[in-house]
């Protein structure tokens, strides 16, 4: 298991920024005139998948700026960090027994859902939900991801059934992951988020989202792109198969011809 060390010299600059709000501190109970913000950083904006890729851990560092010392002390700030994979349509199919054989009978397509989704938070996202009913609108967390079906659906009860199945399948396959203790404060306002990248992570443009909650309300949000690329031969093969399919097909046939012919030459008995 490799650890993508994304520690950085960034820490210094973040800490520097923290000293500023102390001066602008306001007394308890009053609304702070300066809004809290969030800074995040990673040492790399690209993750390479090699042929022996078996998953990795991604560590994101960040800091809360302009934080209220007192609220920070009693744990009123919560941080949620997510890594969303590239979005695409997803079709969930349900099997039923027809004439003794299991076959797909029902299908529901969801529009533009992330292929992979990894979430880390300071505490259970559901605890946050109790305080903030608006979390569904933000769509943070596997249970709150918007899953909108495409097309006309006659039975609305069916939708929740397919939604549950979708979440369960994605969690089982490891593409969707959650870690309710994945974000830890290393100092009063500096945090570290550990996100798990599964072995079957899709390549493409991923997005790191960091959310700052104050007393259960979302007050700040930040994004950072992260590219996941298949490297070397793998990438070359995938590219060739999709961009030059005829040449790729010819190459496949050529390899077969050479292998077959070569074998008949090598193992020729006479």
């Amino acid at each position: 298991m490799r650890r993508l060390a994304l520690t950085s010299g960034l820490l210094g600059s973040l800490l520097f920024g923290l000293t500023a709000p102390a001066a602008a501190q306001v007394s308890f109970g009053e609304i702070s005139p300066i809004k809290e913000t969030l800074e995040i950083g990673a040492s790399s904006s690209e993750i390479a998948i090699t042929s022996d890729f078996r998953g990795a851990d991604l560590t994101i560092f960040g800091a809360i700026t302009n934080a209220d010392e007192l609220l920070l002390g009693i744990g009123q700030y919560d941080v949620v960090v997510t890594l969303e994979g590239p979005r695409d349509y997803a079709t969930v199919r349900k099997k039923e027994r027809v004439l003794g054989i299991w076959m797909n009978t029902g299908a529901l397509t969801f529009e533009q859902v992330p292929e992979s989704y990894s979430i880390a938070s300071t505490r259970q996202i559901d605890d946050l939900e109790n305080q903030a009913p608006a979390i569904d609108k933000i769509g943070v967390g596997i249970e709150h991801l918007p899953l909108n079906p495409v097309g006309y659906i006659p039975n609305s009860g069916l939708i929740s059934e397919f939604r549950d199945a979708y979440r369960r399948l994605k969690l089982n396959s490891g593409l969707y992951q959650r870690d309710s203790g994945g974000v830890r404060f290393v100092s009063s306002s500096l945090f570290r988020a550990s996100l798990r990248l599964p072995a079957n992570i899709p390549d493409g443009q991923h997005m790191v989202h960091a959310y700052l909650f104050k007393s259960g309300n979302l007050i700040f949000q930040r994004e950072m792109p992260l590219r996941v690329v298949k490297t070397g031969l793998e990438q070359a093969i995938t590219d060739a198969a999709h961009e030059r399919p005829i040449a790729y097909g010819m190459l496949c046939v050529l390899i077969a011809v050479v292998t077959g012919w070569g074998a008949s030459l090598i193992f020729r008995k006479d």
Binding site: K94, M103, L169, T238, G260, G262
Partner: protein, 351 residues
């Protein structure tokens, strides 16, 4: 007779040992390994870029070698074994079928070259079969894509395999058991009358095939080629196991040119199918295909040697049992309640 079967089983297990050998120290793999055998093999993983998953290279090599061995032993292409095995090993059926067709190209070429040297290929007959085969393969790929959009491809592939493997396995077993019984009681074979005509020989558009020394209508030849072409693109098989009996019993083509001519046709149909699958479904995995091919052609050499030591009817009985076993395994998969009734597919709106 039993000695022969025992001998074959022994060699078959030696073949399997090849799969076990590299992993003598059993280390439990942390990945789901639904291998054909309950053998723990140290994972030496290789990433398949099109199937988009990591597999144990030793299992794939072993699979290719075992199927190559069997295809050499029985003189079959092996596509009907490799595709189900890949599906059992969790390779997506879409990729298994397209890659299986590619693998058959390699395994057919060695055989075809041998037949060319012996002069047992009727190129004219093969070309007419091929013309039908290309049309059939094109239609087959179209059906394949359509079923994939409907979400019924996996089911359709399984049903087709169960029906074909079940019926052909049963017929072969019946025939070989009868032959073995006859050999025991020293009965003479019933005399075949190759000159006998059936409805096929009353069709128009007759052509003369010099090499085969027959005068035959082109219509049934094209039709047969088309049917095989459809099977190639949907099932990832060469189709020799259907084409050879059809050519002998239906078209009454002399047996000496049948195998060579069918191999000639199979090379081009499977090569064409590989190309079309690569162009339309992007489902040919070059890494998987290369591993399978190399292991396959080597395995086939040993299979041929073993096959020469066995008697024809015993060989056919063994092949029939094998074909039935694969068919039954697939049938079980259709009937047994799946672990999860739901499945999810990522992709465009239609897929």
């Amino acid at each position: 007779m039993t000695v022969g079967i025992l001998q074959a089983l022994f060699i078959w297990h030696v073949g399997l040992l090849f799969m076990i050998l590299p992993g003598r120290i059993p280390i439990i793999s942390d990945r789901p390994c639904h291998a054909v055998l309950p053998v723990r093999i140290r994972p030496v993983t290789v990433y398949l870029p099109i199937a988009e998953l990591s597999v144990n290279i030793l299992i794939i090599l072993g699979m290719g070698a075992a199927v190559g061995f069997l295809s050499g032993m029985f003189g079959v292409g092996g596509g009907f074994l490799i595709t189900p095995l890949l599906i059992f090993y969790n390779i997506p059926p879409v990729v298994a079928v397209a890659t299986g067709a590619n693998q058959v190209v390699a395994s057919s070429i060695s055989g075809a070259i041998t037949h060319f040297r012996r002069g047992t290929v009727d190129v004219k007959l093969g070309s007419i079969l091929l013309a039908g085969g290309l049309v059939g393969a094109t239609g087959g790929v179209w059906i394949f894509s359509w079923l994939r959009r409907l979400g019924q491809l996996d089911l359709f592939i399984s049903i087709l395999y169960v029906v074909l493997l079940g019926s052909i396995g049963a017929l072969m077993l019946q025939e070989s058991v009868r032959a073995m019984r006859r050999a025991k009681t020293n009965q003479a074979l019933p005399i075949k009358r190759p000159g006998q005509h059936n409805w096929v020989h009353r069709l128009p558009l007759k052509m003369r095939f010099k090499k085969s020394k027959i005068y035959l209508s082109a219509i049934p030849v094209v039709m047969l080629g088309m049917a095989i072409g459809v099977l190639t693109s949907i099932m990832g098989v060469g189709g020799g196991f259907i084409m050879v009996p059809a050519m002998i019993y239906l078209l009454r083509i002399p047996t000496n040119v049948v195998v060579g001519t069918s191999l000639f046709q199979i090379i081009f149909t499977t090569a064409y199918t590989t190309m079309v699958q690569a162009a339309t479904n992007y489902s040919v995995d070059i890494v998987l295909a290369t591993i399978l091919m190399i292991a396959g052609v080597i395995g086939a050499q040993y299979g041929v040697r073993v096959g020469q030591k066995l008697r024809g009817e015993q060989l056919r009985a063994l092949l029939a049992l094998l074909v039935l076993a694969v068919g039954i395994r697939l049938a079980i998969g259709l009937i047994v309640t799946p672990d999860d009734l739901y499945s999810v597919a990522v992709g465009g709106l239609s897929y």
